[in-house]
Amino acid sequence: MSSSVMTQPSAPPAAAPPARPQKSVVARVLARPEIGALAAAIAIFAFFYAVAPPFRTLPAISTMLYASSTIGIVAVGVALLMIGGEFDLSSGVSVVTAALAAAMVSFQFSLNMWVGVIVSLVVALAIGFVNGYLVVRTGIPSFLVTLSTFFVLQGVNLGVTKLVTGTVATPNVSGLDGFHSAHAIFASDIDLGFMTVKITVLWWLVFVCVATWLLLRTRTGNWITAAGGNQASARAVGVPVPKVKIGLFMGVAFLAWFLGMHLLFNFSSVQSGLGVGNEFIYIIAAVVGGALLTGGYGSAVGSALGAVIFGMTTQGIVFAGWDPNWFKTFLGVMLLLAVMVNLYVKNYAARRK
């Protein structure tokens, strides 16, 4: 799937400064990493709009956006990390670790919910820091470091939960002080007047905007792209590569924490075996959205489009009422088509230059 992106030969780095006056607006738009994903998202939307009548309603759009947001929130961080040239396979399980930590700290010590939320944030950032520190200090590929973290956290989730609560799920925390305010921040419904959306959708937009600004308008953004493109030369020109990479891992951890809080406050209790496998969905969203598996290229908006494509396809298949036994097959075909449209548009854009 990802091999599609390598065929676009010499696109300018995503974080290049805007001063390139010779090019037309059209050419600059077409050179963006996310343009292919945008075309694919529009195509899939049009497709389901045509074949699935329930898909045309606002509540359906809301469900679809919610599905996209729970993928997209972590995918933003994963995309930045991949642009910075690293992988994180522990992100799916970290989400559950964060949720478990918050629930157990607050419940066991009968504390205000927000204490657990903060402690959990510290735990999550520590996991991100350890991932990043190990990668930059040992030089072991992040793939292996975070694969280890993935297994370690799976065991910790299970072992610690069992040790603390006596079962493998957390107690229900909905009775604790601060639950309602935390629920309002992380898991409430927002009435926009014409439709009701989950608050995660708005947070997702915020995170995508912040990440885009960071990537395209700040020095840090240039550092990220440089560190992922060619680490040695980036270091040679004075980019603090270790700091950038540790920061990126902590960014993913922060977003995983955020989704973990949504998980906790949406369902009030968390089972410790959840989350396994989601790390790949985040990576898929980033790659479908135009990030290179090899680093140095990609965009935050692209990861959002990748999440929309994935969320829209999974929900669209249900809305279309297709035979559920074939669900995964439909999903695979739709994703392949999405990536092919992506590739086609990119090649077209490259030829125009």
């Binding site: 990802s2 396994v276 496998g277 290179l292």
Partner: protein
Amino acid sequence: MRNTRRPLQALVAVTVATMALAACSSSGGAKNAGGGNAGGQDFTIAMITHESPGDTFWDKIRAGADQAAKDHGMTLNYSSDPDAGKEATLVQNAVDSKVDGIAVTLAFPDAVGPAAKSAIAGGVPVVAFNSGIGNYQDFGVPMYFGSNEDLAGQTVGRRIAQDGGGKALCVIQEQGQVALETRCAGVAKAFPNTENLNVNGADLPSVQQTIGAKLQQDPSITDVVTLGAPIALGAMQAKADSGSQAKVITFDLNADVAQAIQNGTIAFSVDQQPYVQGYMAVTALWLNLTNGNDIGGGQPVLTGPSIVDAKNIGPIVQYAKNNTR
């Protein structure tokens, strides 16, 4: 400029790791739960299941097994692996370490059954529990403790029909898992207007989103049947999101589901009593080892379906909190 082989290598690496992650899952690990020695003889029992780590359902099976081992003064070695081949290896490991008895789940009869058969041939008593009701006898396993999934499904279907349901949605959280598919088939047998929906049980928000989408797509659904307690909580959220009036019915219990039944937000639960499955499997081995008994007269001993609804939920709320129901 860019070496075009690198993305390909990365892709291969991702694929390999995906396969590795799908295949290996940490085994539950052995746990010794030895207690006082009641019989004067120190028996060691191996319990081997296809548990996916971190599921409250299996935790109850294990709690029951631990309690039985403690009550009868035996040592219990628990291990599990959701992969068929690895579960069979665990059975072989137990035989090699010369345990006195084996309790095993036969969710993958073709893979694990032959290992159980060779254990019996080697003189180790074996009981099957939880899964494999249709297959355990093929491998010469004398006893079985578990629920009849088909019967349980039919019980739900009949109840939906009695309560005047119009259309049922049966939510499968692990596509292609035989026991789950059998439950939904059972529901459809007794209540033909039943449709299946596959969701990703490892991701609760996605469960909620997918059920929500289905409820929006088909407003004629009157009953949502979930096959596990955590999935029922996702269904309740989905129902609230989509403004559907559908009833939520579930298999299995946990503390939250018990509370929801008491509050009336879940209509009823079909409990297969996992604690009893674990307890009985170990106890049956103890009786066999100390007294030569076999239980069930060659027939499966059913631990369910046991219906839990607003009428009998009272004391069960506390049992669910204690992790025994």
